[in-house]
Amino acid sequence: MSTITRRHFLTTTIAAGTGLLGVPALGTAQGKEIVMLGIWPFTGAFADVGPLLDRGMRLAIDEWNNKVIGRPIKYITRDDETKASSATRRMEEAIDSEGVKIVIGPWSSGMALACTEVAKRRKVFYYFSGGTEDIAGKRCHRYAFNWAASPYTAMHVVVDNYMRLNPTHKRWYLFVSDFAFGWSVEKYTREAGSHHGIEFVGADRMPLGTREYSGFVSKAAAAKPDVLCLLNAGQDVLVSIREAHNFGLAPKVTLLNSWGVGTEDFLQLDPKTRENFWVGTNAYYGMNTPVAKKMTEMYQAKYNVPPGYAPCAAYGMTRLTLRAIEKANSAEPADIVKALEGWETQDWPGKVWVNPKTHQTVRDYMLLRCKKPDQMKHATDFADIVAVSGQPTMPDSMNECKDIGSL
């Protein structure tokens, strides 16, 4: 190959490359519309939750008549496929092609850690509801917020109140989903447990989406616990419960799903397996606040079934975002951020306060005790609300978010 043509090849390529670098940023959709992206799982391990989250967000936007501060709202969704690569690619693609500046979702904490990186780099407003403390902790940044209660508070509410009612149940066995979510809730379950003298007689970590729980249930049974604490997520919870019953472990031993979705799980479980089943959750339809009650009414009217954690979370996040836009009279991410920071107001969970240093929402968490079939007063009377509390709140010193950065 002659040197002339090789050089020619290289120069042509480099010239083309540098030429393109001069091209201004490709145009994005502009205009009066406020584009909101819901990044939800429609396929993959959490495929059943996607449609529920979509419902919640849609409900909130419909309640505002698809408009805020006089501008129409365009609501779009993307499937994150419960894969970090898809979540980030689609989020970024939506930012480029639809001019998205407000992102709510996804569902899995693992995905959220990926999405928050994109939000930080592209400076878009980002709201997530999840059990990993990292979003408002180690990975905090000015544009990201967490709607769910902090796992510190949540695990305390669960453990403290459970022990108040069952002071002799000191032997606990843990099932932990092996990713950010599981690690956070395990850490604080142990921390809360230490105040009650709980002996953690064993713990198993398994990947999200594990189908074969027989081995773990056998191990748990051999350790003779009082409580089998399920710190896993998704379908894993249901599989664990079923296996625990198959192996005769439950209902003798309490099954405690500390960060659960509540309603949706109840609907899928065999009623017999709901005995001695306790659930800690961010959202149950029996929540006694004006906003929650109204939302439950609307949801029930439309879908004939009460809402669980997922639709309530999507609704709650969207609602607060829209209210923040109204408060700031602007839909620019920086303005929404400033409107939310330090805001104390009443919303779905009752009183909420957005900690400006960490962007963690300080709010109530719930502990439910499931009812036996003969105790239910109507078809969806699944559980008694045993406790609703926001105490204790996480001291800032314990939080790993030391510098939330600038806009």
């Binding site: 190959m1 002659s2 043509t5 090789r6 090849f9 042509t12 390529t13 480099i14 083309a16 490359g17 393109l20 670098l21 091209v23 940023a25 490709l26 429609f42 396929t43 993307r78 499937d79 496929e81 894969k83 970090a84 690569s85 980030t88 690619r89 689609r90 970024e92 693609e93 480029d96 092609s97 904490s109 693992g110 850690l113 990926a114 928050t116 990186e117 994109v118 930080k120 780099r121 990975r139 092996d178 990713f179 950010a180 990947p207 999200l208």
Partner: protein, 338 residues
């Protein structure tokens, strides 16, 4: 470079046109991924299309390089060219080690060995959460600027990163073309066609297979580094067999044994998965149908499809280039013992 082969020159020009037009059609983010996976697909093509070894574990090298470069950028703020080199090296070394074991067997056994190693590395990445972040992936990866001496070009926006990816892709493409057109490339092809005869003629078949595998690992590692900088995170699936399977798809759909095949395959695959998935969540069905049709009727992939279309319109056409795809003719049992 193209003397005497006007068809090849035209194809190259089309490639340049594609590079310029693609980000306008599918957005820079998706377009960047297409070129990144094109590099990985070209690498698999080298060992499958040209040397006849189907590897179901290329994600091993893709992921290892991605994690390595990610860690270097997070902890040492390593510059761009350094991580590119490091990732390529990691890919090559890992392929050399893994390949050495795998090439001892052929056929299904070879496939299972590559798959088995992929699973083991996947497991290590999954469990070694302190280093890799486990199931959540490795977040917080910066995108260093391209620094050449006194000049420093930022690559922060999607467009800029796309330009960078496109340029290095062309360099990788050029390198691959050189390999394939060289005597080494011919030896690879002879191994695919008839390993027994290649050995009889005096070539150390295992040695050349190992070289091919290692080279492929290097290219795949290079692609992995580019991927790590795409979203600021290395997801666990970078090293999972799902990606290995995706790369196999791309090569097959595009047309094996042809230099441009993997590019078409990567583009088709990524475009389908992005464009169609927004419309229909069940898009893998279409992918499956496409694969089945290709395997049954169009084993040369998209390359063969274009050739047939061109043949249908242009009558005689030009000579068949050495570049043109050749359906693999080796019978299943024929390559049993090497």
């Amino acid at each position: 470079m193209f003397e005497g082969r006007p068809g090849a020159f035209l194809r190259f020009v089309l490639l340049l046109v594609a590079i310029v037009a693609l980000p306008l059609a599918v957005r820079p983010v998706v377009a960047s991924e297409i070129w990144i996976f094109s590099i990985a697909a070209m690498a698999l093509n080298l060992i499958f299309g040209y040397t006849g070894m189907l590897s179901f574990g290329q994600a091993t090298f893709f992921g290892l390089a991605a994690y390595t470069s990610g860690l270097m950028m997070i902890h040492w703020h390593a510059p761009l060219l350094v991580v590119l080199a490091a990732g390529t090296l990691v890919g090559a070394l890992a392929a050399a080690a893994v390949g050495y074991v795998c090439i001892q067997r052929v056929g299904t056994y070879f496939i299972m060995l590559t798959f088995g190693f992929n699973q083991m590395f996947f497991f290590i990445a999954y469990k070694w959460t302190a280093v890799t972040g486990g199931d959540d992936g490795l977040p917080g990866i910066p995108r260093p600027p391209l620094a050449l001496g006194p000049w420093s070009i930022s690559l922060e926006t999607s467009v800029r990163y796309y330009v960078f990816v496109a340029v290095v892709f062309l360099l990788a493409f050029y390198a691959m073309k050189r390999i394939v057109d060289s005597p080494l490339g011919v030896i690879f092809q002879s191994i695919r066609e008839n390993p027994v005869r290649a050995a009889a003629v005096g070539y150390d078949v295992k040695w050349y297979k190992w070289i091919a595998f290692t080279l492929a690992g290097a290219f795949t590692g290079f692609a992995g580094v580019l991927y790590s900088m795409m979203f600021g995170i290395v997801p666990l699936e970078s090293i999972s067999w799902i990606i290995s399977g995706d790369i196999v798809f791309m090569v097959l759909i595009g047309g094996i044994g042809n230099l441009y095949g993997p590019l078409l395959g990567a583009a088709a695959f990524k475009w389908l998965s992005e464009a169609i998935s927004v419309l229909w969540n069940r898009w893998p069905l279409i992918l499956g149908v496409a694969l089945v049709l290709v395997v049954l009727f169009l084993r040369g992939g998209l390359v063969e499809a274009f050739a047939r279309i061109r043949g249908a319109f242009g009558g005689g056409g030009g000579r068949r280039d050495a570049d043109e795809g050749v359906p693999v003719r080796v019978g299943a049992e024929g390559e049993a013992r090497t």
